[in-house]
């Protein structure tokens, strides 16, 4: 597998992979100290800057996982495009799912600057080596699920991404900035779907509450394991790739979402949810971490289906990608 060799000062350049192997221990320590100092003073790391191998690897893992989540995330919502209940809703949903493809593409591009081809990342996804967000392994059973996903899942994603837009790696931060700008309407359209359902017929209200009941807890799980149990968080926070802990972001999401639910008459399916006057935050019940573990490790309701759909698209498209490449090669050859 060849590495992408790109050198672009402004934005996308390939990092200096394997540089440190040629460095002496003293030199390595010196570079690490310089790197740490840059991070500490808030200087953005660019692809051609020296970086510790672990920084590069952790970032690549996190970014490819993020990109995969965008692309796999197209499937549960895409499931309802052909059944959207009005032409306006259909256009909005299609545009939203299309944006997810675009966002996957931006993040893959940013990750490629760390020295791995997009095709290799996709291979890792399809072989099960790379993970993606567990939320997309839940089925979309009714139209209300489209509202719940836009509102809750995109809402959670926005909380995450707003912070990531300030992360230490330049290409990732820039991709996030663009994504945040585009993603604003995703959350709003989801909430609007829910609001319409809640002021609709009895069946519509039940549909909305049912979607809420099914998507609330998985949405909370999107922020990842609790801080006491998050193996990669330490390094990522030290390097300012992550700027807040999983639990902090989860709390932020709950605090902003509960009033939104109440405003349209949706009940949060958590008996222990209560506003805590002393902390000024909502207390909430225990997350089912066993379910999270199962879904992440491949045993969710839709893991197999999602991977099959991605694999089918990739396999069915192979002849197309091959043909386009062959055509270009032929044209280039005939010019010479």
């Amino acid at each position: 597998m060849h590495f992408v060799k790109r050198i672009l000062a402004n934005c996308n350049q390939t990092s200096n992979i394997g540089m440190e192997t040629t460095l002496s221990v003293e030199e390595l320590n010196k570079r690490e100290a310089e790197f740490d100092a840059k991070i500490a003073s808030g200087i953005t790391i660019e692809p051609k800057d020296w970086m510790p191998e672990r920084y590069r690897k952790q970032l690549l893992r996190m970014m490819s996982q993020h990109a995969h989540s965008e692309v796999v995330g197209m499937l549960p919502e895409g499931n309802w495009i052909t059944r959207a209940p009005s032409l306006a809703r259909k256009a909005v949903l299609l545009a939203k799912v299309q944006d997810e493809a675009g966002h996957g593409l931006y993040i893959y591009s940013a990750a490629e600057t760390l020295g791995m081809d997009r095709s290799e990342m996709i291979d890792q996804l399809l072989s099960g080596k790379a993970k993606y967000s567990s939320i997309f392994n839940y089925p979309t059973l009714t139209w209300a699920d489209i509202g719940a996903i836009g509102w809750l899942v995109d809402g959670a994603a926005i909380v995450n991404q707003t912070v990531l837009a300030k992360c230490s790696y330049g290409p990732y931060a820039r991709a996030m900035l663009r994504i945040c700008k585009e993603e604003n309407f995703h959350n709003k359209q989801g909430y609007q779907i829910m609001a319409y359902l809640m002021r609709g017929t009895k069946e519509q209200r039940e549909m909305a509450q049912d979607a809420m009941n099914r998507f609330w807890w998985p949405s909370l799980m999107m922020f990842g394991p609790s801080d006491t149990n998050s193996p990669n968080s330490g390094d990522l926070m030290k390097w300012k790739v992550k700027l807040h802990s999983n639990d902090d972001l989860r709390q932020r999401f709950i605090d902003r979402t509960v009033p939104q639910a109440e405003a349209i008459g949706l009940r949060i399916p958590d008996e222990n949810l209560k506003f805590n006057e002393s902390t000024r935050h909502y207390d909430f019940g225990e997350i089912n971490w066993e379910e999270f573990k199962q879904v992440v490790s491949g045993n969710g309701p839709c893991n197999k289906l999602r991977m099959k759909q991605r694999a089918d698209a990739h396999t069915n498209g192979a002849w197309v990608r091959e043909a386009a490449a062959a055509y270009s090669a032929k044209k280039a050859a005939s010019k010479n």
Binding site: N12, K48, D49, G102, S119, A175
Partner: protein, 98 residues
Amino acid sequence: MSDNNHQWPIWEVFIQPKNGSAHEHAGSVHAPDGEMALLNARDVYGRRLEGVNMWVVPALAIVASTPDDVGPFFDPANDKMYRWPNYFKTPEGIKQIS
């Protein structure tokens, strides 16, 4: 590279946001050649009325300075403040020149 992949090379996309302004880097696309790179750039980066003109450039064609070049490339300009107009104090009694 596995047969299934046929990874297309990367192109950098530059968009001119409005008439008269300079092209700005927007992002990248994969494409087997320039024509398709342009079409892909239009579809990926033109979804929200982003501009009036597009360039696509093979990523490999871009030559960039390295972080080690920062000093020799950019520092020598440090002591040449006379290149900036505010270096020059306008003599008293003269309202404005140029």
